[in-house]
Symmetry: C2
Subunit: 433 residues, 2 copies
């Protein structure tokens, strides 16, 4: 079904690994060893991992090979952002405050992955508390640049072909951003769909899991595993897509090269048979950046009370002087007004979502910037995250330095499966054009 | 400001304790000792506590007495439901699977309580995973009866005057029910308002914290502490209340004695100056019981994947054969349809909530039943929990056996503070009548 001789095992997608293992063409152990070798080669530069124990990875793979269980992710190595609990590895939330912390149980998403036969490769670097202060990870395509955060290690590990899949989370742009910067597919589900039991709450009104992968099919497969349902293949799109091209009020802040890449893509999709129309969001949406700022700040400053009270000086200055100070100063009335505004805009978005099959938007202003700041330009992501709609970021473009630039597709709540079908169609049109 | 000689310290409300400690009329240690003595007396029968360490309680109180910090809950002993993480006490989720589990940090709500100067008395019994299988706790007013669950120990400890405050949670009726059965005030906040960081997620779409207390003022005080804001006193209601009396389609299942208690209360409130009108909910609301069943089942069965995969035989038969089996069999399509139905009914409720200042509804069909089943008649609570509106249960009545029966007041999202004002007015009218 595929020619494994031409593709090194570490570069296979999850879907390909499952097929190859199931067909007896390779073993879980061989795949795990290939990924570990890749890690040994790339990790000194990329530094995607907070915790990695090769012997334990091999042991997991051997157990799967000698067992009779054949889950839908059999033999697929994956990384887990280090704000997600694991029973067999430390979970440190990107802070020395929780050094060597060992949870007693797996988060729901980890237990579901394990149940599906996936091989837990290790814990991927997160920025401090999934917030602004960077971890050690570098961009896999240029070590002088940020991988993006806060799911830095998850994006970099998938981008460096160390693992085909990784779990991240998103409160602002923590999956979309590293996906764009590391050149991988990033998926933020319909808010509320994928369970967060065992995942550190940053801001419950906004938090979701995120999936980093190297194909849309892998994202679809992993989503079904995380929903705890029988995986269903992505179908082909059978209609002429109506695409809404949504520049947003921040368009002038998107780099001109990226503007051109997106506009060219829109033109190519039109030629491929889609109808592409410009969408202008109501002015109300401009205040969503404030809404996001105060909601996330208010909630984070409460969620991390234990750390604030007991370890204030071990929290980074960036976080203390930024979101935490914001959040501690925010009144309840302001917080509620912002939640009301978010609801209001979600209602305004519904007829727009109904008019189009999918919205096309920037996933980043451009290539990953030079430096370590993991969360530049939050304004790209804030609007969409507050809308609670599903989003998939595709690694469609190369910027002026040959580095990846993604684009985002968004659709109606709960239409995630159809979003994958549309994303695959878009991906194929632009990759083959 | 109050005559402490007439009231034993263990029976004071939180508001009274704070006033007395602040005025130098008593000490944190004296209050803690009084509550510990009360526990020593009542605990053999009530069994509200999963974990209790008197020496450590005294130590906390002494530290507060010798310190200069004067938080808004200074010296107030409180209990914490054992699905909520505590850094200094075990957290076992009501299951032998997590025996002796010690979290590394406090849940947000515990850290906020500690910051406010409250004294953590111990961990209160929860039914297994905040679900159907009972813990050891007995009703404080009749040991042959259930205290109600799943916040069983929290309700019983407050009802038995062991502590003035306790934290619970609610996914179905887990705060409302023990409040009614144990004769205390129970508060379920506007969904999403109080942070759940460090609280076991049962069903994120439905979960909230809950407060158990012996006065409306205490609930209001504690809510502000948990919101991380400066406490504001409850104001007096300054309008003629419009009350919607909402029997729901389940009225025939409410015991006739309770029907009469509620109808008498409605009549007395009318005489006190309120306008009371009957409210009939649209038929669509009847399907909310199914919506609750499938949403909670689907989510719990994913959230507890680690336990299901590794400890299936240590999970109670009740839970395995009930919600978990339900949840594992529920399709994603059914789950989403149920979430859509919930949203649909929330929209239908909005104009009704706008027509009235407050809705009056049953908090239980009657007195606590004989036996240990902690979560009888979920149909009373399901509708209101799915609506995400704030609810306060007041211990207004006595049933045919002289045992407590509560009534529920509900209002618009985010209007929790106004709900307290109205609840206090209702409470005063009915208590003085």
């Amino acid at each position: 079904m595929m020619n494994l001789r031409n593709a090194p095992l570490h570069s296979l997608t999850a879907t390909q690994i499952v097929a190859a293992v199931s067909a007896g063409e390779t073993t879980c152990e061989a795949v795990a060893r290939a990924c570990l070798e890749r890690i040994a080669e790339r990790e000194p530069k990329v530094q995607a991992w907070e915790y990695l124990n090769p012997d334990y990875v091999i042991k997991q793979a051997q157990t799967l090979d000698s067992g009779s269980k054949r889950g839908p992710l059999i033999g697929v190595p994956y990384g887990v952002k280090d704000i997600i609990d694991t029973a067999d590895m430390p979970t440190e939330y990107g802070t020395p405050i929780h050094k060597d912390h060992r949870p007693q149980r797996d988060a729901a998403c980890v237990a579901l992955s394990r149940k599906a036969g996936a091989v837990l490769m290790g814990k991927a670097v997160t920025s401090e508390f999934a917030n602004v202060h960077p971890g050690k990870t570098r961009n896999p395509h240029d070590a002088a640049r940020t991988p993006g955060g806060s799911s830095s290690g998850s994006g970099a590990a998938v981008g460096a072909e160390m693992v085909p899949l990784a779990l991240g989370t998103q409160t602002t742009g923590s999956t979309t951003r590293p996906a764009s910067f590391c050149g991988v597919v990033g998926y933020r589900p319909t808010w509320g769909d994928l369970r967060l039991n065992g995942v550190m709450e940053a801001s419950g009104t906004l938090d979701t899991l995120g999936i980093l992968a190297r194909s849309v099919d892998d994202v679809a497969l992993y989503r079904d595993v995380l929903l705890g349902i029988e995986p269903q293949p992505v179908v082909d799109v059978d209609t002429r897509l109506r695409i809404g091209f949504c520049r947003t009020h921040n368009w002038s802040k998107v780099e001109p090269t990226t503007q051109k890449l997106l506009e060219d893509a829109a033109a190519r999709l039109t030629r491929a048979g889609a109808t592409v129309e410009d969408v202008t969001l109501p002015h109300d949406f401009e205040a969503l950046e404030d809404a996001h700022r105060w909601i996330s700040g208010f909630e984070m400053a409460r969620n991390l009370t234990w750390e604030i009270e007991n370890h204030w000086n071990e929290i980074s200055e960036q976080f203390r002087n930024g979101r935490l100070t914001d959040g501690l100063a925010c009144t309840y009335e302001q917080y509620v007004a912002m939640r009301h505004h978010m609801h209001h805009c979600r209602k305004l978005l519904l007829p727009i979502l109904d008019r189009y099959d999918v919205l096309l938007a920037a996933a980043a202003p451009g290539e990953a910037p030079v430096g370590w700041h993991p969360v530049p330009h939050p304004w790209v992501y804030m609007i969409w995250t507050t809308m609670h709609v599903p989003s998939i970021t595709l690694p469609l473009f190369k910027g002026p330095n040959g580095l990846p630039v993604g684009a985002q597709l968004l659709t109606r709540h709960y239409d995630d499966r159809r979003l994958f079908a549309m994303a695959r169609w878009v991906d194929r049109q632009l990759m083959n054009a």
